[in-house]
């Protein structure tokens, strides 16, 4: 999957599962989503892409783009 495709899927999950309204935020995730929204988002992403983030992976995820990059890395490892 391409970066933009994954970003689209993340946007849909954020809207449907994390109650995020509007376009995805540019800045740090934790400045826009509270802890419950972030939890709902990351678990739904793991379910959708059939991946599992380690706490170490999550340390590197600050923004939506980091999240998309993290998903692509996990998908690459699986392939």
């Amino acid at each position: 999957m391409e970066f933009s495709e994954v970003r689209e899927v993340v946007a849909a999950i954020a809207r449907d599962e994390a109650n995020w309204k509007g376009p995805l935020p540019d800045g740090p995730l934790d400045r826009h989503l509270d802890s419950i929204q972030r939890l709902a988002l990351v678990v739904a992403i793991e379910d959708r892409f059939e991946i599992c983030f380690d706490p170490e992976d999550e340390q590197r995820i600050r923004s939506v783009d980091d999240l998309v990059a993290g998903i692509l890395t996990k998908l690459g490892e699986r392939a």
Partner: protein, 610 residues
């Protein structure tokens, strides 16, 4: 088993409870863990007992001894329960801590976890391999004597028999009102844990008497490091004993329908949750996710741990009635860690109660009923709000409402809630300060009693409980110091508990030449969310000097909220020669009135007036 028999705990210590539960039918009684695909893993209490004994042996082999504090940072899994009870098996003290929040800031997590480990002088920390890889920074701040160890492999120990401990020995420590700088470790004895667990079990039996060895089953997604999960769910399952189905908290948050499906599938009769969980189900669960589900088995849907909203309770009933949810199942309750957990319950099997009270009177500390139409709604012109009752004290528990001078108040007067009962803690672990005096616990919450029912209206202590998480107000306030236009040190974060539940309000004073108010409010929200992970519901922008302060300059958060609700949180009058002159005149007039009144009083008493 009747209620009278249960009123006195039939077990002396937690190992006794395990031993008795282990004698139950392994096909019917035990823990059921659901994974992400909702596949169950069954752990019968008989097998659980064997694993606890083996884990206890392994703990002993690793150097853990009686009285040691055994910290756990683990998700919901069999290993959590095995280590928790194995520690008690050898007379050690388990301390459950929460794992890192997903996609959260770890620097704050390390700080907070280290503060909790330090507060109990933890002897060892057990975790799993995933979490363990990031706990190095926590350990750098506080290293337990026996280090940070992996839970896997502990079962390999040779089984041990439980050591004999006194029912008055400390059985566990759970954290309450925790903040980064000042975590409060609640020390609970075996007797206190069992007293509370027994009262909860008694309430279940009162509604659903066990017959033919068939104990009502529980379902929970609540975290096991939280009192409502640990005491509210585990204790009745073991004391009953009865089956308990466990779901991880993150699965519930991501897919709340899992909770309801588990209740229907495993015929759960008892399942507690905070108010936000019921609201989340109303918002997120779709009909097709509950196809074929029958929720009529759910007799005790306890709602506690945070303020309740009548609107949420009604919405939940309306939404899930078509799936068999009973309108007498919702049970608002009240409790806190310092009392082990439960203090008041709505009577099982009765419909929850609410009442409207006049808003302005409540702001003055008086619960005056509002004007209500026949259908229970507010009459035209009535300015009241609806409050949900948390029920009445459990057997052997008592509640008092007191004012700031410790005087017990009458019914319908708002004051601090004090609680007394057999499961109230003696004190915090390793600390001399305690909110318990003469057996009475100052809960730090505000409320009143009406018709024998407790209504919780606010919080006097400096802690906010937001979506199940404790937050220190000063941490939220400090976060907006960096926002341009905000006066440094001039913010107040408060929880406004109202008819719709708890809202986070942030009062901020701005500099005289502050920019766009809407932009400033948005920047404040963003700063708090970023620094603390808390979503502010409303930012109230104030002129300089508006926030009330103590004589030593501390912001009076509760008073700020009270004034704001009464429409009286106003900026100070500008001081100039004219206003100063007026103030002096009013002051002189006051002295004059006082002197005249004093002379009149003496004259009435017949004193000689000089």
């Amino acid at each position: 088993m009747n209620r009278k028999n249960l009123a006195a705990p039939i077990h002396a210590t937690l190992p006794d409870v395990i031993e008795r539960a282990a004698a139950s039918d392994p096909a019917l009684y035990g823990f059921r863990f659901l994974d992400r695909a909702e596949n169950p893993t069954w752990l019968a209490f008989s097998e659980f007992r064997a694993r606890v004994a083996a884990t206890a042996g392994a703990l002993w082999d690793e150097g853990v001894r009686g009285g040691d504090r055994v910290a756990l940072v683990l998700p919901t899994c069999p290993e959590f329960l095995e280590i928790f009870f194995a520690a008690q098996w050898i007379g050690a003290i388990p301390v459950a801590l929460y794992p890192p929040v997903r996609l959260g800031r770890l620097d704050e997590y390390h700080e907070r976890t280290a503060a909790m480990l330090r507060a109990v002088d933890a002897s060892v920390l057990y975790t799993d391999s995933r979490i363990g890889r990031i706990l190095g920074e926590t350990a750098a701040r506080f290293r337990p004597r026996l280090g940070v160890r992996e839970a896997a492999g502990l079962r390999a120990g040779s089984g041990r028999e439980p050591v004999v401990v006194s029912p008055d020995a400390i059985a566990m420590v759970q954290f309450s009102s925790g903040t980064t700088v000042d975590p409060k470790p609640v020390a609970l004895t075996h007797a206190q844990m069992l007293a509370n667990g027994t009262r909860i079990t008694e309430a279940i039996f009162a509604l659903m008497p066990p017959s033919q060895g068939n104990f009502p089953g529980g379902v929970t997604w609540l975290p096991l490091y939280h009192d409502m999960g640990l005491i509210g769910c585990l204790m009745p399952a073991l004391c009953g004993p009865g089956p308990l189905t466990l779901i991880s908290p993150e699965l519930f948050v991501a897919r709340p329908a899992i909770w309801l499906r588990a209740i229907a599938k495993y015929r759960g009769t008892t399942s507690p949750a905070p108010n936000f969980a019921y609201a989340l189900c109303v918002d997120r669960v779709r009909d097709e996710e509950l196809e074929g589900c029958d929720l009529s088995c759910w007799r005790m849907a306890l709602n506690g741990a945070e303020p309740m909203s009548a609107a949420t309770l009604r919405a939940f009933e309306d939404r899930f009635e078509k799936f068999g949810f009973r309108r007498d199942a919702l049970m608002p309750v009240y409790g806190l860690s310092e009392a082990t957990l439960a203090v008041t319950f709505t009577r099982p099997g009765t419909r929850w109660r609410s009442r409207r009270f006049d808003v302005a009177s409540l702001a003055r500390g008086i619960a005056r009923p509002g004007l209500v139409a026949e259908d229970g709604s507010a009459q035209s012109g009535d300015k009241s709000s609806e409050w949900v009752s948390s029920g009445a004290p459990l057997p052997d528990f008592a509640i008092e409402i007191r004012d700031d001078d410790d005087i017990v108040l009458d019914a319908q007067r708002v004051g601090r809630i004090f609680a007394k009962g057999p499961s109230v803690m003696h004190g915090y672990y390793g600390r001399s300060d305690t909110p318990v005096r003469g057996g009475w616990l100052d809960t730090g919450d505000l409320g009143f009693i009406d018709d024998g029912q407790l209504y919780v209206t606010g919080r006097a202590k400096d802690v906010l409980v937001l979506r199940g998480q404790n937050q220190a107000p000063h941490e939220l306030e400090r976060a907006v110091d960096v926002v341009p236009g905000v006066r440094v040190g001039c913010a107040a974060a408060v929880a406004d508990i109202g008819a719709d539940g708890e809202r986070l309000l942030l009062f901020v004073e701005v500099r005289a030449a502050a920019a766009n108010i809407a932009e400033l409010a948005a920047a404040c929200r963003e700063a708090v969310l970023g620094a603390c992970g808390a979503a502010v519901d409303e930012v109230v922008v104030l002129q300089p000097g508006t926030l009330p302060r103590t004589s030593s300059g501390k912001i009076r958060r509760g008073e700020a909220l009270r004034l704001w609700k009464a429409g009286e949180l106003l900026p100070p009058d500008a001081v100039n020669l004219l206003t100063m002159g007026g103030a002096m005149l009013r002051s002189q007039a006051g002295y004059l009135r006082s002197a005249v009144g004093h002379l009149r009083a003496r004259w009435r008493r017949g004193d000689e007036v000089v």
